[in-house]
């Protein structure tokens, strides 16, 4: 099964391609706003990730959080995925 990081990277590449944008190499410290995607690009990315993953961490999170780097963004999705799993397993 594809890791969350790979899924996010694949979707970012697909959105950049659809939007005719040049995507910067995706490293943990890459500032998202320097990645080549604009706010519409990120809006599309989050919508498509919800379609693929079945959750939107921005809705799940009780905090108003704005990831700044690609690494923050991936961790944000990983944390949300863990909380979704916990909720589904009923362990909490």
């Amino acid at each position: 099964m594809m890791s969350l990081r790979s899924t996010i990277s694949e979707q970012m590449k697909a959105v950049a391609s659809d939007q005719d944008k040049q995507l910067a190499p995706l490293s943990d410290d890459l500032v998202l706003l320097d990645s080549g995607l604009d706010s519409l690009g990120f809006a599309i990315l989050v919508a498509r990730l919800e379609d693929v993953l079945g959750f939107d961490p921005f809705i799940i999170s009780s905090d108003a959080y704005y990831p700044v780097t690609f690494g923050d963004f991936v961790r944000f999705y990983e944390d949300a995925a863990n909380s979704v799993k916990i909720a589904a397993n009923g362990t909490r």
Partner: protein, 467 residues
């Protein structure tokens, strides 16, 4: 007395010495307001534009700003053209509004603007000009807003309606440096431009396609004290490390529903700033502002205050005020105000525990980061696809832009293998590409869902449920 009623912008600025130290800052250059009062950015042609109907079609927002100052009180009518209006629509605007002069910073007329007799160049360079018009007239300001078919609607205001919500006390506040992520050619940005000009401060205008980080850096460099944008603008800004370069005393949101999440994040980011979200629309003007840091608005907003009356009728918010627009230009347009003088904003609100919350729009209009999308326009494009039987375009909630556009489609039977997932994936891609070729990017559905049926609601209209 309010600062500018029936006076032009140039008169409201006062004398050159009164404007000393006040600037308009653009991405590449700056204009001193005191220099502008004794000169011109219209290549010495401002007198020739007297009493004309002028299409203001500029790329650079700084050029827009100086042209607005020079033309108000001089031109009979000016059409403030935002970026992205296509040439066919421009032709309709020219004919409907009776445009007889074009002010532009491009130097190259389009097919439609080439049909206009008079062309005046405009840039952000002030040239000395002793031949400035001295008379004043109440110039009509025509703002554009998107219509159902994607064709812009022309909304008529003048300086008195546009400045109705700007209180005279604001004019006396010193050392204000305004910034707005908004384009000043749209209502929300124009309000900030007018606040800056009628006050005693300066303004940093953004530029089309300027990344948020760069604009934030410019806001920081010039020491912006008052910053305005849509919730989507602010969300983008909050994603940038450059948010740390600004420390505004006043943070304002308008143009979209301000969610509690964005309000809380702004409160945490700027704990000492006044935080305001305003309700305004091109047609209704500024209705009210909310300063308690909570989403929605308190029930006591309903009623009459000063010259603003606000009510909820059939679930939608209605506003009557001296800031309401006069009319839509052109034959066959509906009236902006009803028989009692109220403008139906089309925003559906619900009362819960003495507070109203926004639920969506009566006409199904989708707000994507402050830009309107009429579902019918998008459906019209999708339905051109040979495999599509019928489509329903609806909003999907989005943490970045408030909403994005998604489409449900049913397919014509017998034209392909609907159980082949690769075939369906390619079909969805085709539909998105069809839309990309015909629509502005924010109108293109981010997702296509193939469904077996689309059921009309009780009214016979398609149900555009918010996902």
């Amino acid at each position: 007395m309010p600062p500018t009623r029936s006076r032009s912008l140039r008169t409201a600025l006062g004398s050159a010495s009164e404007c000393a130290g006040r600037f308009l800052w653009g991405i590449r250059s700056e204009v001193s307001l005191s220099a502008l009062l004794t000169g011109s950015c219209l290549a010495g042609n401002s007198r020739a534009l007297a009493d004309r109907c002028v299409l203001l079609s500029t790329h650079d927002q700084l050029a827009t700003a100086v042209a607005l100052i020079e033309l108000d009180g001089v031109a009979r009518r000016m059409i403030v053209c935002p970026p992205g209006v296509d040439d066919d629509h421009l032709q309709t605007i020219i004919e409907t509004a009776g445009v007889d002069a074009v002010v532009s910073d491009s130097g190259i007329p389009t097919t439609s603007t080439a049909t206009v007799g008079m062309h005046v160049g405009c840039d952000a360079t002030v040239r000395a000009n002793a031949d400035l018009p001295t008379f004043e007239r109440q110039t009509e300001w025509i703002l554009l807003t998107s219509g159902t078919s994607g064709k812009p609607k022309m909304v008529r205001h003048d300086l008195s309606t546009l400045t109705a919500a700007i209180k005279s006390r604001e004019a006396k506040l010193n050392e204000i440096v305004w910034g707005t992520f908004y384009d000043i050619r749209r209502y929300g940005g124009l309000q900030i431009f007018l606040r800056a000009i009628l006050g005693t401060g300066s303004l940093i205008v953004s530029s089309v396609d300027e990344p948020p980080t760069e604009y934030l850096n410019r806001l920081g460099t010039h020491g912006a004290t008052h910053v305005s944008g849509t919730p989507s603008h602010w969300r983008s800004a909050l994603w940038s490390p450059a948010i740390a370069t600004i420390s505004p005393r006043y943070v304002r949101l308008s143009g979209e529903i301000a969610t509690q999440a964005v309000l809380d994040t702004l409160r945490n980011t700027f704990p000492n700033a006044g935080l305001t979200h305003a309700f305004a629309s091109t047609e209704a003007g500024v209705g009210f502002t909310v300063t308690d840091g909570l989403e929605g608005f308190p029930a006591e907003v309903i009623g009459q205050r000063d010259d603003v009356s606000i009510k909820v009728e059939n679930g939608s918010l209605r506003i009557r005020s001296s800031g309401n627009a006069f009319e839509y230009l052109g034959a066959g347009q509906s009236a902006i105000r009803d028989a009692d003088g109220f403008v139906d904003t089309g925003d559906i609100v619900e009362l819960r525990d003495q507070r109203f919350y926004f639920l969506g729009r009566t006409n199904g209009v989708i707000n994507v980061g402050g830009l309107k999308v009429h579902p019918e326009e998008v459906e019209g494009i999708i339905n051109r696809h040979p495999r599509v039987e019928v489509s329903c375009v609806r909003p999907k909630r989005n943490p970045i832009l408030g909403s994005v556009v998604v489409a449900d489609v049913t397919l014509k039977a017998g034209l392909g293998n609907e159980t082949d997932s690769e075939h369906i994936r390619q079909l969805k891609q085709d539909i998105i590409q069809l839309c990309s070729g015909s629509l502005a990017q924010h109108k293109v559905p981010v997702m296509i869902n193939v469904v077996s049926e689309l059921s009309p609601g009780a009214t016979g209209k398609m149900v555009r449920r918010n996902a």
